[in-house]
């Protein structure tokens, strides 16, 4: 009995020592654990305050989980609010790829999506057998024991999910630490999103401002061009009128042929102004999204071309306008005022852009056209002028676009050819251009004879 009592007392004594040692060990381990958690919090904090892209910050957070919590791997997803899909942003440890099966997880599907849908963490130290962990074979093979998944919440709203797998159980302290850094990470994601939104808004605002400024600049250039172009014929008209007022005041003998020359000049300058004003009015109609209202009647293209050519020949002595008509008449249904303006634009351009003078050839013919049973009137206007640079040719019919070799040197509104294109198209016709910079330009207009 004594022996038994003795050995029992010794055992109890031994047990107390063991208990004390366990307590000591436990205390030491606790210390170690709290140190690890402090290190985790520090690393996560540092990652999130650094000035770098969000993905990079989150990657450092995931690395901190692996490093300090002995996780096998850790991942962080952010929620795309528009699509309600969790997008993988960071992956550290065993897996580091951001593509693959878990890179896009819709809210509500898989364990990650469920955490987001329920806005509740899912924690387990018994991965094998957990119905939420669908990859049981994989977990067994890799020896995964613990899983911790946390929703990242800002004011009860999900901004992302973080999760980790470990090969040994996670202690309650570790889980608490995860809960606390979850909050910090959520704040980091939200902060970044707000920042991105602000940047996006600023960018949009800047773009809108740039667009408005560009539109204003186009308008100002157009207004100064139009006022210049209208002042020029106005100068000629006003001057000629005043010349005759002065001559009348001086009671000079009336020279009828001189008077007629003056009146012709006034008529011709008035014609130029009318073309410009009509071009502006058509432009305004087109800019309001409406088609031009054509007034169609049967007209003779040969007669029209000859009339316009004669009127414009009177404005220049340096150019010779030659009209070659293959047939005496080409009848088409058309808007006589607008087609007159198309010819006037093409011919006055030919004059304007051949400042050194030269011959301008206009040919009129009637040809068979594709899918136009009655054929087409074909008008070709060729000059020997400055030509259009190849790079500008595709844009020469665009509103406000002028060839770069004349912009700033020869004034123009940049709307004549745009209107020509519109008018010809509304007649069911086509207009095209060929040009060689330095040698001249040819415009080719086809207008169907059967409308």
């Amino acid at each position: 009995m004594d022996d038994l009592e003795q050995s029992t007392a010794a055992l109890l004594e031994e047990l107390d020592v063991l208990r004390a040692r366990v307590a000591m060990l436990e205390q030491g381990e606790g210390l170690q654990e709290s140190q690890r958690i402090a290190a985790l919090s520090r690393d996560v904090g540092v990652a999130l305050v650094q000035d770098m892209p969000l993905q990079q910050s989150l990657q450092q957070c995931a690395q901190a989980f692996v490093h300090h919590l002995d996780a096998a791997f850790a991942r962080i997803w952010t929620l795309n609010i528009d699509t309600q899909v969790l997008e993988l942003q960071a992956s550290a440890g065993l897996y580091t790829h951001l593509d693959g099966a878990h890179s896009r997880v819709p809210v509500g599907s898989l364990k990650i999506g469920l955490i987001a849908a329920e806005r509740l963490p899912h924690l387990t130290n018994t991965v094998i057998g957990d119905p939420r962990v669908s990859e049981q074979e994989w977990a067994k093979r890799e020896g995964m024991v613990a899983f911790a998944g946390y929703p990242l919440l800002i004011e009860e709203k999900v901004v992302g999910v973080m999760a980790l797998f470990a090969r040994k159980p996670l202690t309650p302290t570790v889980l608490d630490a995860m809960a606390s850094v979850a909050n910090v990470i959520a704040l980091g994601i939200d902060h970044k999103r707000v920042e991105d939104e602000r940047e996006h808004l600023l960018l949009e605002e800047q773009q809108a401002r740039d667009q408005a400024e560009a539109a204003l600049q186009v308008r100002n250039i157009f207004l100064s061009a139009i006022s210049h172009d209208l002042k020029t014929p106005l100068t000629a008209i006003k001057g000629t009128v005043q010349i005759w007022q002065r001559r009348a005041m001086r009671a000079q003998a009336l020279d009828i042929s001189q008077l007629l020359k003056g009146l012709d000049l006034i008529e011709s300058a008035t014609r130029n102004m009318t073309v410009m004003i009509d071009d502006v009015l058509d432009l305004a109609q087109l800019q309001s999204g409406q088609q031009l209202e054509l007034s169609i009647s049967q007209l003779d293209v040969v007669a029209l071309v000859q009339q316009v050519a004669a009127a414009l020949q009177a404005t220049t002595t340096r150019h010779r306008i030659r009209v070659e008509a293959a047939v005496p008449h080409v009848l088409i249904p058309g808007d006589v005022v607008r087609l007159d303006r198309v010819m006037a634009n093409l011919l006055s351009n030919a004059i304007k852009y051949s400042p050194q003078g030269g011959t301008i050839t206009v040919t009129v013919s009637q040809e068979g056209c594709e899918d136009k049973s009655g054929g087409c009137a074909v008008v070709e206007v060729s000059d020997q002028g400055l030509g259009i640079p190849a790079a500008d040719l595709p844009h020469i019919f665009d509103q406000f676009r002028r060839a770069t070799n004349v912009t700033g040197r020869i004034l123009g509104m940049g709307i004549g050819l745009a209107n020509c294109l519109q008018i010809v198209r509304q007649h069911g016709g086509t207009i095209s251009v060929t040009s060689l910079e330095g040698s001249g330009t040819t415009f080719l207009v086809r207008l169907p004879c059967n409308g």
Binding site: S224, S227, H228, K231, T232, P233, L234, T235, A236, I237, K238, G239, T240, Q242, I243, R246, R247, G262, L265, S268, A269, N272, T315, T316, T317, R318, K352, P355, Q356, V406, R409, I410, L411
Partner: protein, 134 residues
Amino acid sequence: MEKDQHQSLLGARPTPEQILVVDDDAHVLQMIQWVLQDEGFEVQTAAEGQEALTLVRRHRPALLILDMGLPLLDGSHVAAELHTLYGTAVPIVLITADGHAAQKGRQIGASAFLHKPFEIADLVQAVKRSLTSR
């Protein structure tokens, strides 16, 4: 009073003074030609800068009426060439439609400037004053 004096002086000269007009608009060029011929001047015209340069090199005009916006060769080039050739002996009357006549006039050393559309009386006065103050 001074103007009448100049006119009488001008009338007394055996050969009329020659004025070169440079403008790329044929109507304006013709109109100014009529105005100056009515005032007894001889007029030469050029529709672009290169042609104007050829004319001033060949013969010194009494005065130049110059439009600034010219194709091929800008008006300021014509003015610069004129200064190189004849110093300030040939006054320039600047005519422009873009509203910056004063600034451009100073730049090229014009003796007078007019905004299009101008009064004929102002053009005549500018020409005569510029010729008197040479």
